[in-house]
Amino acid sequence: MRRFRLTRRLGLRARITLAFAIGALLLSALLATTTWALTRENLLNQREDSATVIVFQNAGIVQRRITAETKPQALQSLLGDLPTPLGAQPVVFSSTGYVSLTPEFGEDALPLALRNTVVAGQAARMRFDVRGEMQLGVGVPIASIDAAYFEIIPLGDLESTLEALGVSLVGASLATTLAGAALGWWASRRALRPLAGVSTAAMALAAGRLDTRLESSEDPDLRPIAASFNDMAQALQDRIERDARFASDVSHELRSPLMTLAASVEVMDNQRDDLPDRARSALDLMVADIDRFQRLVEDLLEISRFDAGVVRLELEEVHLAELVMQAVSHSTDADVPVELDAELAGVVVQADKRRIVRVIANLLDNAAKYAGGATAVSLRQVDDGVLIAVEDRGDGVPLDDRDLIFDRFSRGTAAGRRGNNDGVGLGLALVAEHVNLHGGKVWVEGRSDGEQGARFVVQLPVEVDE
């Protein structure tokens, strides 16, 4: 469980880097240890062999010069004359006792095992520690007088050489580990770079740029990824375009029969007074629903053009305050009061008049359908453009619905419960599309005076001409 969480926490790159570092560490540690051990053995053996040769020579000298009657003083001066290597201490054991150059290398300076072996008549050598320093003891029996010649050679200088070697090997291992980590970091970056490209492309696709494709790669390992990603993107684009075209085609096809219906029903309506009551009622239903049908088809056509990506703003100079007032006075709810910022009087902006009019009309329609009509429309100047707000005294929009309400064919849960079938469900979606096309935002909030009701706000980043 812990392991799982750890791998989850570490990214792929970190894991690759870590693996490279651990691998480099293990390998370099193994190599360093082996090198150190071999070098140590080699150095020690070399030193022991050369020392042994000298000890045998010196033992020969001692054997020639001494007899059983040689006095310890004479023996001592003989030992002092021997060509011993620097720091080596000659020691002689005989039946009469023990002779060394300095008293500190006393009788017990030599390990008992070595002494016994040599005294028993066998030449031998042995490594041992004296006060933490490694020493080499070499002993040769002098059979003629039943004595033994020893030399104690300090190996401390070898120790420090080996220590220096060890330090540099540890340093080299650490450097190798770091280099391994760096290599892992670089390799994982190289290996993951195509993934970063895929991720960027996928984000672009998600953002709606459907023609995003990966560049085809020279690399045989990467080519299938790019190819399948591009196939997927193409399929997605085809599918979305087909859906968009379908909606547009359907609406287009609906217009011709609708045209005939609208014209025919109008001809019948001209003869309305001559019709029997029941036929007249049926005619009224037809007139009303053909009108609704017509608005639905217009809205569908409008929104399918957004999906097809063929919309563009028809910007013209618009007297904003007048536009808002005209839009309100021509809407279904012409009596709604319009509150204007004084500073906006006479301001001319660049805007698509038709779309702004639709935005205001749809917001007023929405208020009329779901909230008993708008209570006020206001136009305010803010730092980054203008705010057009439509307030009502309905039930308000629950927090959960405040984003959903701008989706297509979504009327919000509260509105749906009211069972009002008159709404088409595209009005607010079109508001959002028109506003987005202007680079603006639309949202719904509570009323600014804290009373019950909703406040739909459109923020347009319009460029004020004057």
Partner: protein
């Protein structure tokens, strides 16, 4: 004499329904299913108003519009698929006076036709002789001359020029011109004015790119330069 309307529409049922609705208004309707048909009918019996669907099999509505314009200044209403496409501007540039988008209410069509007919007739209302540099306007005769030579304007172009010329120097907003000439309220399409002014300039200006008579007042509209 009854007003005659030539309706060019390839969908038979739409054509019949529109014909019924227009006949209810007291107008006579000649039907044509193709552009070729329409041009034949128009040669044989000139109409007072022509209604053309842009989408036609064979020669399209734009071409029919241009062909009619070569010989006649009859008011033309075209029917386009969408208001926000280039079709509208292309149709107006081909010589149409007004446009509707499908599906439209026949009442709306009747209103447009009535406005065009009114316009065609008001050009006969008397007004004094007007002169602006090389430009001479005789509203009574419906004649415009530049450097003494007759300039041929459609009835709508003529109305735009006379409207501006009757208050020289005054700035007319697009909305005002739309209301006075096309009978639209505030929500008329400003492109109607823009394209008609553009067409007018090619006929009355020595250099249409640098107009001296019909000038644009940025952010406000158009005026006739005194």
């Amino acid at each position: 004499m009854t007003t005659r309307i030539l309706a060019v529409e390839d969908d038979e049922r739409i054509r019949m329904a529109v014909k019924l609705a227009l006949e209810d208004e007291g107008w006579a309707v000649t039907e044509a299913a193709t552009g070729e048909d329409a041009l034949l009918h128009f040669q044989r019996e000139p109409a007072d108003v022509v209604l053309i669907d842009i989408m036609l099999p064979g020669i399209d509505g734009f071409e029919v519009c241009r062909s009619i314009r070569r010989t006649s200044d009859v008011p033309i209403v075209m029917v386009t698929a969408r208001a926000d496409t280039h079709d509208v501007v292309a149709g107006l540039e081909a010589g149409a006076d007004d446009y509707l988008t499908k599906p439209f209410a026949p009442k709306e069509l009747s209103a447009r036709i009535r406005a065009l007919l009114r316009r065609a007739r008001t050009s006969e209302v008397s007004s004094p002789h007007l002169r602006f540099g090389d430009l001479e306007i005789v509203p009574e005769e419906g004649v415009v001359r530049r450097n003494g030579r007759d300039v041929h304007l459609t009835k709508t172009e003529f109305r735009v020029l006379v409207e501006l010329a009757q208050s020289p120097g005054r700035v007319f907003s697009r909305e005002v011109l739309l209301e006075r000439i096309w009978g639209y309220g505030y929500f008329g399409d400003g492109r109607l004015v823009d394209v008609h002014v553009r067409r007018l300039r090619t006929k009355v200006e020595a250099d249409p790119a640098n107009p001296r008579h019909v000038v644009t007042v940025r952010g406000l509209g158009y005026k006739l330069q005194v």
